[in-house]
Amino acid sequence: MRGSSPAMTGEYRDTGAYMSTMRPQDILLPAAAGLCCKPGGFHIDPVRPVERAVITHGHSDHARAGHGRVLATQETLDMMRLRYGENFAGSTQAICYGEEIRLGDVRVKFHPAGHVLGSAQIAVTCKDTCIVASGDYKDAPDPTCTPFELVPCDVFITEATFGLPVFRHGDAAGEVRKLLASVALFPERAHLVGAYSLGKAQRVIALLRQAGYDAPIYLHGAMEKITKYYQSRGIDLGELRPVMGVKKAALAGTITLAPPSATSDLWTRRFPDPVTAFASGWMRVRARARQRGIELPLVISDHADWDGLTATIAATGAGEIWVTHGQEDALVHWCQSKGLRAQPLDLVGYGDEEESETPLQDEAEA
């Protein structure tokens, strides 16, 4: 399977050749540093420092520091600045959704990916061949970012974080109702919701507000900065308070958001008899939730589920699909069964993003 990936079959040809017969792998090709566009002179979401980087979104496995020039949405650039400091790149250039610019011999256009604030799909067009590198995306509603936009193309590069038919995320609002029902049933306990700091946490808060929950929501220190940034971009999250310094008894009946790692640590001892929740697409599978000692699994994901992946792939009209980031085999199989050309795109160093991390290993005997 891997032997037939574009990297193996496509021998890169010089400029003169690709202008006449353009194969997709002549435009974008996996390389050690990341997905490389030779005719455009840039890499998409490179994992190593490169001269010119084009970045889909602010999650740390896509947006890294140390590149020469960086092209991304304003929000992605801001998030990188928050995380890595002012000098995270030699120079930066902000681009809007729908804006197209020319880089070398290709045209590059950004489209909303619906994953987190500022997340983009990158359409790369050379001659009349268009490849869309969608980064991470979801087609489900999210009050904290611009909705996913369908971009018709010839080759669609899709993630497969939840690329198995067992992953169907359902309605996030329903999961939030589950959380609120638990808060009502256990008013003397604290509810501790594990959620990734960038994107998921703010979405959960916004969903709580949509559900009519207007009490203050408490935050773990690690998510204050990024959440403030969301608010500064006009996203209304209601009253938020740092949980630090709040008395244990005062946390009864409240909701606190924290990074997932904190919900199983010493830090939880400051809460009265906490109910540990975790907002993640992984929570659909019971063994995964139990493995982490979660009491209230909430199936809320910032990635497309199986139905979303397959519907999107079909809707792009692409005849060729490159699959990366997760459960490639099942999605490749599905594409092929639909008569589409499909193969896994091997990208070294990807898949380290928080949500796509491998959950803790099975406990030895328990």
Binding site: Y97, G98, L164, G170, A311, G317, G339, L340
Partner: protein, 634 residues
């Protein structure tokens, strides 16, 4: 069914007993009759119907999904019912055979064509995509959310939504009542079609619970007792009241709920031989004795058998019905038909089930051999003759004796057993003592304190207050159990692992080892794992020690320093030893627990494997080792 499934799902994740109770009571309050009654039946194990085989479930999913995708999914999830529940593609009448995850005729791969499906409101088209800018002014940020960013921009899901319309186009999902009553009467050939319909109608959690229920694999992790307690809480009743009337009740328990909600009279238990909730003892600690006066107590041997309640009663026509109950109220009469003829006097005996051969009590191992057999053959009855050793009388004919003091019940018991005069039923003798020292001596040597040749089947003494009424549950200060000294060794903490539930933020599961000669001198070999025995304060101390002395981490497991001069020595108490192939050390402990932290002791002074091997030899000469699984039942 969906609501019941949601309850089961939540219960499966909730570790706390009180929180489980709240969840169940909340369900009873919210859900009406008769669904909640069938739920109570499911939770107490009172439902019965023929179960479906897993092969049937496999056939159902195979008819709807691509086998490769199913295989990959099953490998990932690892549980058949859950995999099927999660990936089940609903079929909606009139929508043909096109499902997500199922191969269907391929769409034209031609560019743009498939996109029409979902690109209704896209402004870009294949023609203007080639221009340098299509002139759209999509803002990068969905500034103030109102009216924007609420999703719905991309309609790619519409195609799928047509396959999954919301419920108003669908038949409503089945209720629990419908599922339970249908399954009871459904013929085998009709089952697949019926299951398929239900799977189409239920949500993911509902499908999961349905499949677990029909395959008989519903393990909820709560006891029948807990479910009854939750029902009692609905009407602020004492759970024992529910327990008392329970044998006369049947699903869906309409009369029970009517009473609990104050809409009806208390149901009457017409069972002539009902179960009475049992009274349990506390484990006594050394420090408890100072406050106790020996004169207030009667002592008996604590027998290493099975606690039972043997009840006989007359129905309206005067016929005697006899039943044998486990201490949780399970009717186990069928396993001991040889005892039934002896239960001919109306009354309720609390006692210990034992095997007697030639008048001598056999070890628990022998009793275990009889319990392990499913079929009670005449040969089994002959080789393992059953016996009841009585120590309390709860009812005498139609009289309830439970309000009487123990001393008075004991007199009635002696009379009752005398009148019965049956070789299969005898009295458990009392152990005379004047002081705690005298009782300590008797406990240390039961053989010379009256137990004689049955001493091997004695696992300690029971202390019962003379004036104690028979109170269900574990009332404080009334009954005490004082087991023989457990084995104790000093071991070294080697690995620590996070606990579960409330203890998930602590390293509370410990693997410990003892010294043995290795190739390069003495080394530690793991001999057991303990999860309890320590106080909350000690837990904090060990947790701190683990965090500060971790040498390596493997997932949730931490390797803790264990050198001859650095490390933590744990005093471990345990009930016995068994030889074990599974453990590198060759021995396995029964019920190990941390009894003390030996901060004062350097690891080099901890015990050696030879000590355990010697204990094992001594244990093997006493045939009283029992399997862990049975320990809770007595």
């Amino acid at each position: 069914m969906n609501r019941f499934a949601e309850l089961l799902d939540r219960l499966a994740y909730e570790p706390g007993r009180n929180n489980k109770l709240r969840l169940i009571t909340g369900y009873f309050r919210e859900v009406g009759d008769p669904d909640r009654g069938y739920a109570l039946a499911a939770l107490t194990g009172a439902l019965s119907f023929k179960h479906a085989k897993p092969a049937l479930i496999r056939d159902l999913i195979a008819s709807r999904t691509d086998p490769v995708l199913f295989g990959l999914s099953y490998d990932y999830v690892g549980d058949l019912s859950e995999t099927v529940a999660l990936m089940w593609p609903k079929r909606v009448p009139g929508n043909g055979e096109s499902f997500p995850g199922h191969p269907s005729p391929p769409p034209s791969p031609a560019r743009g064509e498939g996109a029409q499906l979902g690109a209704g409101q896209q402004t870009s088209s294949t023609t203007d995509r080639d221009s340098a800018s299509d002139g759209r002014t999509t803002p990068t940020v969905p500034s103030p959310l109102a009216g924007e960013g609420q999703g719905g921009g991309y309609r790619g899901r519409d195609a799928r939504d047509a396959l999954h319309p919301s419920n108003h186009n669908n038949p409503p999902p089945p209720t629990l009542t419908e599922v339970v009553t249908t399954l009871r009467t459904l013929g085998k050939t009709e089952l697949p079609k019926q299951l398929e319909r239900w799977l189409d109608e239920l949500d993911e959690t509902g499908r999961w619970a349905l499949l677990k229920l029909v395959t008989g694999a519903l393990r909820i992790g709560i006891s029948a007792r807990l479910a009854k307690t939750a029902a009692a809480a609905l009407g602020d009743k004492d759970p024992h009241e529910v327990e008392l009337i329970w044998p006369g009740l049947a699903p869906p328990y309409l009369d029970l709920f009517a009473w609990l909600e104050g809409r009806g009279d208390k149901p009457v238990n017409r069972d002539p031989a009902p179960f009475r909730p049992v009274m349990l003892a506390h484990a006594i600690e050394d420090t408890d004795f100072a406050a106790l006066d020996p004169a207030d107590y009667v002592a008996e041997w604590k027998w290493d058998g099975i606690r039972v309640q043997a009840v006989a009663g007359r129905d309206e026509r005067g016929h005697v019905t006899a039943r044998l109950y486990s201490r949780t109220g399970e009717d186990i009469t069928g396993s001991f038909p040889d005892l039934v003829p002896s239960l001919r006097l109306a009354g309720a005996i609390d006692g210990e089930l034992l095997i007697l051969r030639e008048g001598r009590v056999q070890s628990f191992n022998v009793l275990q051999q009889r319990l392990n057999r499913k079929v009670v053959s005449p040969k089994l009855i002959k080789e393992f003759p059953i016996h009841l050793r009585a120590y309390d009388l709860l009812g005498d004919d139609a009289n309830d004796l439970r309000e009487l003091p123990f001393a008075e019940r004991r007199e009635r018991l002696e009379t009752f057993i005398g009148k019965l005069d049956d070789p299969r039923i005898d009295l458990s003798p009392t152990v005379p003592f004047a002081s705690w020292q005298a009782l300590t001596a008797a406990r240390a040597d039961p053989a010379s304190a009256g137990a004689g040749e049955d001493a091997d089947a004695v696992e300690g003494v029971m202390l019962k207050r003379r004036d104690a009424p028979y109170l269900p549950g574990r009332p404080k200060g009334q009954w005490w159990k004082w087991k023989r000294d457990p084995h104790i060794i000093d071991a070294v903490l080697m690995y620590a692992q996070r606990g579960h539930g409330k203890r998930s933020s602590y390293y509370s599961d410990y693997t410990f080892g003892v010294w043995t000669a290795g190739e390069a001198g003495d080394e530690l070999v793991p001999v057991g794992k303990a999860y309890f025995g320590f106080t909350d304060e000690e837990l904090l101390q060990i947790d701190r020690f683990v965090r500060r002395n971790t040498t390596e981490k493997f997932g949730p497991v931490r390797h803790v320093v264990h050198e001859p001069d650095t490390g933590l020595v744990l005093e471990v108490a345990f009930e016995g030893l068994q030889r074990s192939q599974r453990h590198k050390s060759g021995v396995a402990m029964r019920f190990p627990r941390i009894s003390r932290l030996r901060w004062d002791k350097p690891p080099r002074e901890a015990d050696r494997l030879e000590t355990l091997e010697n204990m094992l030899k001594a244990d093997e000469s006493l045939p009283t080792i029992k399997v862990a699984a049975s320990a809770d039942s007595r």
